[in-house]
Assembly symmetry: C2
């Protein structure tokens, strides 16, 4: 028997993680009766993971820069949302190339969504829970070896700046009691399925995904397997299932008065846990899972620009604050991530 | 003979510092031929300090949330501005009390001003120089004894949040080459003339200004002159003339290619230099300048809330970065500030 009922609004629900989130919520909270309002600029599909569950689902094509589109998300047959996952956005390369669109979608639409949430409390007349997805791109400049919650955010690109500005809005709207909000900064989620993207981090997935499928992949860092640079270049990653579980944990954290007291009172931003993996270790994990033949499919075309950008990213974070709030971290390293990808996508 | 001609737009030109800035620019750059466009929500007066100078001046009543009002600032008979001093804003207490107005004026109007500047280069087809006044209110949370440029900004109020969001816009618009911008974070400027304001920091000016005029003043910190709390409570201050000179320095810094190379590439925010003064030292400075009779006019009515707020402010900053960029710091302590006030206002 359902012990609870929740209406969940997800913006950007057509995206990779957005489309997986409803299934993860149902999986981790089987007692809850979910009603999903799934919105995106193109009407999202009903996630196959909801089939056979007791959850209900509406999909809506919505341009969040249009106020009547926005209003429609709050006036469905499910009524007001209890929880909003704000996951829409223009990605990093797109935000640089179409700067005005990035500002409009990543900042203005998020603020409009916060503003709409502010004026529409939950059925219990409480502030709506607002979970905003942010990014390690909010970091930049001179970083310590291990980034702490107290480390200053000085983004060096449009995407990071836009995400960071929204983080400050989420903190301020929460301080005022307008929403019950949190910003979760995502690590690089790997391996990512689908065709290679144009993001700088895309090779981290590509050098695993393509060889697993028997195809060649380009590694833009290093001149060959023995290049020391492969050990020196590290990326901060987490696997999809762990990250999705942390999306659920964020909701649970905000509904738990005792736990949410541990959130630093002057900031509602939390870096989700992850782990550092070097390019060398990624390739080694691929070898362990799939053998030498797979590794032989990786070709090296060193790209100094790509190397410089990857090296500027934060390499490691102190997970302890996030763990103290109940978030979880991968226990089986990059091999675990590869095995999960193989199980889900092959 | 004028060796240079500049059109300077000042928003918030009717405010205390805004009304003093034109005179300071003329004083420190006597060779420059200035054309001032002075804008505020109430039409500003022509500063008396411009009388007898070769500078020209237009005053405009402008609501910056109105696009046609905004446009008018860029299409005066003086043509496009070379430099914008963005000094308009709703102050801290006002931003808390009328939150929506604060967001609209402090964030939205500043972004609209940046956007307008972006699309209107200078006569030399260069990005417009954009000097944004920010505040120590952008700090909060857990602060080190001495705040560094690398210290994270975690504001705990609407005003600080609004100013900080604009700082990130200024950095981003500058990175994109849309403007040539800087955010200068002001210390508490003392003593401030005029009637007592409702700002928490108002007593820092009041316990000097009122006794100098032979009137009683309330000190909300401590129970009497011997209370140790007077030595423990410190404020980060600068006197008006030094701060105004730093407004001029900011403009010079941005026009000097060699000097502006020293600005940290990932941030366009600079904390202006100041010095720490305890309430005890303020009272001692008053005694040195005006004697025991003046000090006897200070009455003590300890207010725990005021004490708590003042104690939460950053007490000291490392000035070295700002000094390395050419900004200046007071050399004559709080006594110098009192003497300047007496010379200018009595």
């Amino acid at each position: 028997m359902a012990i609870d009922s929740q209406t969940i609004l997800i913006t950007g629900a057509g995206g990779w993680l957005g489309s997986l989130l409803p299934g993860k919520l149902v999986e981790l909270e089987p007692e809850t009766s979910f009603k999903f309002v799934l919105a995106d600029i193109v009407e999202p599909k009903i996630p196959s993971s909801l089939k056979g569950t007791k959850s209900e689902c509406i999909t809506i094509k919505a341009d969040l820069s249009d106020d009547s589109n926005m209003q429609a998300l709050f006036t469905t047959k499910y009524g007001k949302p209890d929880v909003i996952y704000s996951m829409h956005g223009i990605m990093s390369l797109g935000s640089e190339e179409n700067w005005d669109l990035g500002m409009r979608v990543n900042v203005d639409s998020t603020r409009a969504l916060l503003e709409k949430a502010r004026h529409q409390k939950t059925k219990q007349d409480k502030p709506i829970t607002f979970i905003f997805t942010s990014s390690v791109a909010t970091y930049g400049g001179q970083l310590p070896d291990e980034v702490l919650p107290s480390t200053s955010c000085t983004p060096e690109g449009a995407y990071g700046t836009e995400k960071l500005i929204c983080e400050y809005y989420v903190t301020e709207y929460t301080r005022k009691g307008f929403v019950n909000g949190i910003s979760i900064k995502l690590p690089t989620i790997v391996p990512r399925p689908g065709p290679p993207s144009r993001a700088t981090s895309a090779f981290v997935s590509g050098i695993v995904r393509e060889p697993l499928a028997g195809q060649e992949a380009i590694c833009p860092i290093g001149s060959g397997l023995e290049d020391a640079i492969l050990q020196q270049t590290g990326v901060w990653v987490a696997k999809p299932s762990t990250t999705l579980a942390n999306f659920v944990k964020a909701k649970q954290l905000l509904s738990n008065t005792d736990l949410s007291k541990n959130i630093l009172p002057w900031s509602r931003s939390v870096q989700l846990p992850g782990f550092t993996v070097s390019v060398h270790d990624i390739i080694q994990a691929l070898r362990n899972v799939k053998g030498d033949d797979a590794v032989a499919l990786i070709k090296f075309e060193h790209d100094e620009t790509c190397k410089r950008i990857v090296s500027s990213w934060p390499r490691a974070f102190d997970n302890s604050y996030a763990l103290s709030l109940g978030f979880i971290v991968d226990q089986d390293g990059f091999e675990g991530a590869i095995k999960e990808y193989r199980a889900n996508h092959m």
